[in-house]
Subunit: 236 residues, 2 copies
Amino acid sequence: MPDAYYLQLTEQLRYLITQHAAEWEGKLPSERALAERFSTTRVTLRQALAQLEGEGLIHRSNRRGWFISPARLMYDPTRDAGFNDYVRAQGRQPRTAVLKLETRPHLPAARALGLADNQPFHHIRRRRYVDDRAVLAESLWVVPECAPELLTIYTGQSLWGLLRERWGHHLANRSIHMVSEALSPMDAEELFVAPGTAGLNICRAILDEQRCPIEYDEEHWLHDSLCICVELSGQQ
Amino acid sequence: MPDAYYLQLTEQLRYLITQHAAEWEGKLPSERALAERFSTTRVTLRQALAQLEGEGLIHRSNRRGWFISPARLMYDPTRDAGFNDYVRAQGRQPRTAVLKLETRPHLPAARALGLADNQPFHHIRRRRYVDDRAVLAESLWVVPECAPELLTIYTGQSLWGLLRERWGHHLANRSIHMVSEALSPMDAEELFVAPGTAGLNICRAILDEQRCPIEYDEEHWLHDSLCICVELSGQQ
DNA sequence: TCCCGGCTTTGGTATAGACCAGAAGTCTGC
DNA sequence: GCAGACTTCTGGTCTATACCAAAGCCGGGA
């Protein structure tokens, strides 16, 4: 139906992928092999692959090749279930790597929480995996008074769980922003993907029941790795 | 800092755009002119433009050229404020074009609302504009019993307003799914953009307070045109 | 057995050109 | 003055080729 060759290629690849998913064990043949099979150049072939990448059907890992993307993770950013819990609840294997622990100011966090520009925060930078695929790079910015010794005790567990159980905070008010983005060189490197890969940016500002600021976090997801789901009951 | 030339180009273009936004009146010079200015080929230049497109800084319209993207629309899919209301509330000009009115079954709607596969729906297809830019193609699938003469009276107004005021429905339960996508050829054509342009797909299933199915809708947004915002109070 | 170095393959980047169809501007003839 | 035809310009698509750096494989030596 579509006239452009690369769009026909896209359809043929889509079919090939569904047919050979098992046989290929998730990894596509090399670009050169595919280009030859379809009697075209790598440039055109890559246009077709980029289409499928945009749809979330396939993704690439560094210089290792193209891979079939696993099912999207269902994720409700309005709930405070821990990452580990809801990943496991979907039959997947979660993993977290802590990349950095420090204390310093961060303007977006200060602005979002209504604090002074030079307000310092406990900063946790971590990378999270689903079934050994790095899908999320995130930064957490915690108001130090709310969790004084956080950086000395933190080892990758659920932050919200800690805030609730150890410091008794009630994460009552949340302001959530989501935008699509192109991953920055830093985020891309931390997720082992090419710079400019499509991502989803989720930011949360969290205050307690007295609207006292507790925490701000910035999440950078690979765009094909999640489906955001929100369930609401009762008229807003 | 980045070594790849197209990434340096990206930065230079980003700077150029902020400098000349007013002078250019929102439209960039032609690809050929830019490629010549930077002593490179259109292919490489287009790689840099694609980066900025991914970030949402610029977009293209059909074969007319590249344009600087306006600020993102703030949008809360959990509220039922009409499109016209919240667009105007942000000082922008909304517009709606009705593309199709028909009655027929639609499998995703039936599945999402828990109805039989062959359940017919009143279908409204419309395109929505912000400041004369088409940013949203959407399909609404309404259970006919909930709004019998809908198709004969509908002329582009707020559907949720109609459901509430004319038929007295209480849109109490909502299940919302959001995923990034590549726009299908049909959606892309309706929004006057190239096939495969990045988009954001939002689907809602809506039931009343007795969990009786009322409506299902599928929204396809240009990815750079909105920021999803959700405000929550009280522990979930 | 295991580590290390070299070779091969891979994707990432870039050049130089070409043709097409649609959009937009221009010019002509009524 | 205006509608319609023509020309120009634009992005969209495609070919053919090349080099690089990183990843991964393989084989040899400790």
